[in-house]
Amino acid sequence: MKRIITLVVNGEQREVAVEPDLTLLEVLREDLGLTGTKKACNQGECGACTVLLDGKPVSSCLVLAVRAHGKAVVTVEGLAENGRLHPLQEAFVTYGAVQCGFCTPGVLLVAKALLDTNPHPTAQEIEQAIAGNICRCTGYVKIIEAITAVAQNQNI
């Protein structure tokens, strides 16, 4: 039996009718057309599907949509505000933290959650924060550089 749930997605209230076993990932991608959130391992192991749920990063492939009822969701599509890229997005381009880009949305959101709670993390804290996100292309080197640059508020 479908249930109607309400989500605040990227600041906008959305209503969706969902089966109880549907994941937040599927709702975002299939019902709301927000395909920036990536589906990869679909079992909580790679971080590609990360979104912010009430400000905290979660693997949306592990969250049942009904459990997100009433909560605020931020996806990569919601990172830019009023047409202005989030500093992390800018830095990821400038510092070459993006290769194939498949891990990028998830990593960006984890990085945002980190900087929102800890604006000046150490290198170790950055590594720890993104340790749940697999990136096969970059070896994380430039991802860490980009996050560090934003944290240090460097010109990007």
């Binding site: 991608r29 927000l34 395909t35 920036g36 959130t37 990536k38 589906k39 990869a40 391992c41 679909n42 079992q43 909580g44 192991e45 790679c46 590609a48 996806t75 990569v76 599509e77 990172l79 830019a80 890229l85 997005q89 990821f92 381009v93 400038t94 070459g96 993006v98 290769q99 194939c100 880009g101 498949f102 891990c103 990028t104 949305p105 960006l108 950055i126 590594e127 720890q128 993104i130 340790a131 749940g132 996100n133 697999i134 990136c135 096969r136 292309c137 970059t138 070896g139 994380y140 080197v141 430039k142 991802i143 860490i144």
Partner: protein, 771 residues
């Protein structure tokens, strides 16, 4: 070298960066078409079994199921790389050959229904004995997997150049070492996905693939269709590393089911299925014997390799040749013998993974070379410098190496890593190691016999001259080819980089190119783009010649840079590219330039001589410093250095990104990664939780340095980086660990457990009284 360039030699930001950081970039799995069905592949639960009967009647009754196909519904044409080893069919016909082998497919209104339908299909199997190890496979009484491969021998190679026996006789010292590799997997994050739809008798296939050309070719062969009736394209692609080069079950099945149902069909692999699809690194079992002079100069090498091929061949035959062929490139020696057996086993097929067949033999040889150096009392870097190939030489197996700065790479790596101070002076259980590597800059011959150019490109200037579109068949898989090629187009045309759009990897809309494999695009696609850009520029200059003054000038008196045409003698006299281009358009119609590239005839005449040929070879030295925990065997890679001889570098940041990623993959394969199976051939770790990919916490710093090198065979002097950079890593890590603990863990991955055991054994031995 002329460093006075506008758009190349510069770390311009990627032209797809914005799309990717905003989530707007659509990958194949993000696409939807009206009325689209979802397909899934039916897979074998057995490693080796005869198919007795398939009953789809229950599944067909399930509401929402629209199509079920098995071998009887699809062409039986065999495909693969070399005709003698075409051994794969769309679906298994008589036998299944590994757990996960493809038996049929279902299309339904959603994935869930398709999964349910798979469960309702009844397949009766007669289970056959299976074999999972090449050394078992070669035994006389081993189960035979293919009739056409007696003794399960899939590929057998015996090459001999010079006289190795004589070299060993003349040698001051001869040593043999055996080292083993493991099965690894590309582990790109985006699983394979295909979407097919038909319009009349023409089909369009979106596929997450590394070469639209080869896929179009394979499809036309297997489905018996004209290439012109098949359009293959890809959108954004989430990593490939060699794993998206062979056609997948999704490609064939989506096309066939879309035809049968008259609806678009989308098929995605889940994570486990991408592991089933396989095509990753072969496990190689390698024995090297080398004879050297007292000074460490290599006189002759004999390589003897056994490979676990898995169930089918695909690109695996090339992997086997690559395993031995490229060994001759880095070090200069005249006598070389290579023997290799690739056996089929009842496991997922192995194929090409970053560096193709070479990284494991390179690991073995680099480890072996360190032992030789140690026995002779020579420093490991010194022995590499002594043997490093010189530019402008030809290998004993017939490869012409125009540029080579391996010697300089070793010397610089030595200096920047503090090698001299550290070697033999580090505390106990700390170590430093070196490894060399390199790769072809594109394969000299294409994957099937043809006379086609390897790359072509076309540039069309917009009617008003304010923009240009670069059409290329090169495939952007994350490495940055769209960016690098746009930089090259801009430079060749004298036109702003930001005003160039790229239309790539679409057999209808873009131009022909063999695609992303063998590290070929910067050099080969680059040549085509450069030539296309220069033709556009020439036409601009000719048109401008009548426009500059009241008197006409000649095109030779003009140049064009950054969108401005100017008189070379009087740079103040200018016209914009746009005004000249629009004048051209008004007079003659579209302003188009095309370019094409073929490497010409390369290499010797012996069997297999084609594999390993290339217009150019990269080289690189890596050094790593490690610390090993004596109690637990845990390995910490503390710092690493990479010095690269990559020719002229179009985009340094992208190059460093390739080095980081290559090092990352290499470190994973050195210490953690291995695809595992149980004794029934079932995958044990086909997921990112248990297939141990390094995380950000495991990744050491990488100091990546580019040498100032120039390759005469490359456009502007370029050569490759993407694959070569992964080839030194395993040897380098292996040597660093050896330096730290004083015993060689002779098999990959050099896991904590193996290190711990090796240390324990060593202690045991040391504890025993001397005889």
């Amino acid at each position: 070298m002329n460093e006075n360039y506008s758009y190349i030699g510069k770390s311009l930001p990627r032209n797809d960066g914005l799309e990717k950081v905003t989530g707007r970039a659509r990958y194949t799995g993000d696409l939807k078409f009206p009325n689209m069905l979802y397909g899934k592949i039916l897979r074998s639960p057995h490693a080796h079994a005869r198919i007795i009967n398939i009953d789809t009647s229950e599944a067909e009754k399930l509401p929402g199921v629209k199509c079920i196909i098995t071998a009887k519904d699809v062409p039986a044409t065999k495909y693969g790389l070399s005709p003698a080893r075409w051994d794969e069919t769309i679906f298994c016909i008589d036998k299944v050959r590994y757990v996960g082998d493809k038996v049929g497919a279902v299309a339904a209104i959603d994935e869930e229904t398709a999964y349910k339908a798979l469960k309702l299909i009844k397949v009766d199997y007669e289970v056959l004995p299976a074999v999972f190890d090449p050394f078992e496979a070669r035994k006389e009484d081993a189960p035979q997997i293919f009739e056409e491969y007696p003794g399960n021998v899939n590929t057998e190679i015996h090459l001999h150049f010079g006289d190795v026996d004589k070299a060993f006789k003349d040698a001051y010292y001869v040593r043999t070492d055996r080292l083993d590799g493991q099965r690894t997997y590309h582990a790109f994050i985006e699983n394979h996905c295909s979407i097919a739809y038909w319009e009349g008798d023409k089909v369009t296939l979106y596929s997450s693939c590394q070469s639209v050309h080869y896929l179009q070719y394979y499809l036309s062969q297997v489905l018996d269709m004209k290439m012109g009736d098949i359009r293959v394209l890809k959108t954004y692609l989430g990593g490939g590393f060699g794993g998206k080069l062979d056609p997948t079950g999704n490609d064939f099945a989506s096309i066939i089911m879309a035809k049968k149902t008259g609806r678009p069909v989308k098929m995605s692999y889940d994570q486990k299925e991408t592991f089933y699809n396989g095509r990753g690194r072969h496990a190689q079992f390698m024995e090297f014997t080398t004879g050297v002079t007292k000074e460490g100069k290599i006189l002759g090498v004999h390589g003897n390799i056994v490979m676990d091929g898995g169930a089918y061949t695909g690109l695996g035959v090339a992997s086997a040749y690559y395993a031995g062929s490229l060994l001759t490139v880095l070090y200069d020696f005249d006598n070389y013998k290579f023997d290799c057996f690739r056996y089929v086993t009842n496991l997922p097929p192995n194929g090409a993974q970053r560096g193709h067949g070479q990284p494991q033999p390179r690991f073995a040889f680099e480890s072996h070379l360190d032992h030789i150096a140690e026995d002779l009392g020579i420093d490991p870097i010194d022995i590499r410098v002594i043997n490093a190939r010189k530019p402008g030489t030809t290998t004993c197996n017939g490869y012409e190496v125009k540029s080579c700065m391996l010697k300089e790479a070793n010397e610089l790596a030595r200096d920047i890593s503090g090698w001299r101070e550290k070697k033999d002076n580090l505390p106990a259980f700390s170590g430093i190691g070196v490894g060399n590597g390199g790769f072809v800059s594109g394969a000299g011959y294409s994957m099937y016999r043809n006379k086609l150019p390897h790359s072509t490109a076309m540039i069309k200037v917009m009617d008003d001259g304010t923009g240009a579109i670069l059409y290329t068949g090169a495939v952007e898989i994350g490495q940055g080819s769209d960016t690098v090629l746009a930089q090259m187009a801009a430079e060749a045309m004298g036109f702003p980089y930001e005003n160039i759009k790229v239309v790539a990897a679409d057999t209808d809309l873009a131009t022909h190119d063999f695609g992303a494999y063998a590290s070929r695009q910067t050099l080969m696609s680059g040549w085509a783009v450069k030539r296309a850009g220069e033709k556009v520029k020439q036409q601009i200059l000719e048109t401008a010649a009548d426009m500059m003054y009241d008197r006409p000038v000649t095109a030779e008196e003009l140049d064009c840079r950054e969108g401005i045409v100017f008189l070379k003698e009087e740079p103040g006299v200018t016209k914009t590219f746009a005004e000249v281009a629009s004048a051209y358009f008004i007079k003659k119609g579209p302003l188009v330039g095309t370019g094409s590239y073929h490497p010409g005839k390369l290499g010797g005449a012996h069997k297999g001589a084609a594999v390993g040929t290339s217009p150019a070879y990269s080289s690189a030295t890596q050094v790593a410093e490690v610390k090993v925990d004596e109690e637990t065997g845990e390995i910490h890679v503390i710092n690493t250095w990479d010095v690269h001889d990559s020719g002229y570098v179009i985009n340094p940041d992208l190059l460093h990104g390739q080095v980081h990623g290559a090092f990352y993959m290499g470190i994973g394969e050195s210490i953690w990664e291995e695809v595992l199976f149980n004794d029934k051939g079932e995958l044990l770790n086909g997921n990112f939780g248990e297939y141990r990919l390094p995380t950000a916490l495991d990744m050491p710093p990488v100091n990546s340095i580019i040498l100032d090198s120039y390759e005469p065979n490359g456009p502007w002097g370029v050569k490759e980086v993407g694959e070569g950079a992964t080839t030194p890593t395993m040897g380098c890590i292996s040597n660093a660990i050896y330096d730290a603990i004083g015993v060689r863990v002779s098999s990959l991955p050099i896991s904590y457990e193996k290190v711990w055991r090796a240390l324990k054994e060593k202690k045991g031995k040391e504890g025993k009284p001397q005889k």
